[in-house]
């Protein structure tokens, strides 16, 4: 349904693949999926995976929830690099374009009220998720996602970051997660013998510090990605 906005922009519909190509591709994909499906069906119905290995070392992890222990302790390397990937994605976005001006007109009454009602609840929820991650599903990523959504909602309701915060305070928040994670990871080398090997006695506290920094960074990164350009 091209409504012809100027007529110059090609919407791509005319360049979609031809019918014969689609049929051939469909057959190939069905063969591929059939093979993968057979592979899935031939897997044993029960497999412990790595659950026993994780369970055996929970006492050293500093937290009581297995997923949090894997994320922030056993496979902390992954999580550190993953935060770095988020930062790289934002650098890519910032290097491509300045942020679009955006719509500064006053939001409708529904959006404005919703923003006022939901934003405090979302901040509270993020704090709860961050804290509860030690014993139950939750943690830095969930809390960061909720806090990031609060930031997106605030932007949609017409809030802008004050200019005095858009310089180094914003950049510091963006790198805080990677920075704290890396500093702690390197700092425990003399104590634990290797990178990110926290001493079991301190692990709980260190994980909470890392998660708090990561939550703030993830929220800031997600909101900044939503803005779509260098502020």
């Amino acid at each position: 349904m091209d409504r012809g906005s100027g007529g110059k922009v090609d919407r791509g519909g005319s360049q979609d693949a031809s019918l014969g190509f689609r049929l051939g591709l469909g057959v190939l994909l069905l063969a591929l999926l059939g093979g993968l499906g057979l592979a899935v069906l031939s897997l044993p119905a029960q497999a412990p995976g790595l659950a026993p290995a994780v369970g055996a070392r929970m006492a050293q992890s500093g937290v009581e929830h297995q997923v949090t222990a894997v994320l922030l302790n056993f496979r902390a390397y992954d999580t550190l690099l993953e935060l770095a990937v988020l930062l790289l994605a934002l650098l890519g976005v910032w290097s491509l374009a300045p942020a679009p001006r955006g719509d500064d007109s006053a939001p409708g009454p529904v959006l404005a009220t919703l923003g006022r009602l939901l934003a405090p609840l979302m901040i509270l929820m993020a704090g709860y998720l961050l804290w509860v991650g030690a014993q139950a599903p939750g943690g830095a990523f969930q809390a960061g996602a909720v806090l990031g959504a609060a930031g997106v909602l605030a932007r949609l309701s017409g809030c802008r970051l004050p200019v005095r915060l858009a310089g180094w305070p914003l950049r510091l928040t963006l790198v805080l997660g990677v920075l704290v994670f890396a500093v702690i990871g390197v700092g425990v080398i003399p104590l634990g013998g290797s990178l990110l090997a926290y001493p079991p006695a301190w692990a709980g506290g260190l994980i909470l510090v890392i998660e708090t920094a990561a939550t703030l960074s993830i929220a800031a990164l997600l909101t900044a990605l939503f803005l779509g350009g260098r502020p």
């Binding site: 090609d10 005319s14 899935v40 790595l50 994780v54 994320l71 890519g92």
Partner: protein, 102 residues
């Protein structure tokens, strides 16, 4: 068929749908969406198969991988959309032109 295999097969179906759209559709936003559908399918396969533990509680390692994967997927999608907008601003096109010599 157990619940775990049902979820995994559904995930495979999503991967197939996404792969088809990624190849057939020329519009870049559709390609980005197709890429996300593929990613969701992969996540569903991982989470589904993680349920096969005898103890009942799912294997935490695939869960942790998917958790980080979701956030990376969001970031990659944002980067892809901004690249797409730049392409459109620079050339006026919203598709990749693969004709030689253009």
């Amino acid at each position: 068929m157990t619940q775990a295999t049902l979820y995994a097969l559904t995930g495979l179906g999503l991967v197939g749908l996404g792969l088809y759209a990624l190849i057939v559709r020329a519009h870049l936003l559709r390609k980005v969406l197709a890429f996300n559908v593929i990613g969701s399918g992969v996540f569903l396969v991982l989470i589904g198969l993680a349920r096969r533990t005898p103890a009942g509680a799912p294997d935490p390692v695939p869960q942790a991988m998917v958790l980080t994967g979701i956030v990376v997927a969001v970031a990659a999608t944002a980067l892809a959309v901004v690249l797409m907008l730049r392409l459109r601003a620079a050339t006026g096109r919203i598709t990749l032109d693969d004709s030689p010599g253009d």
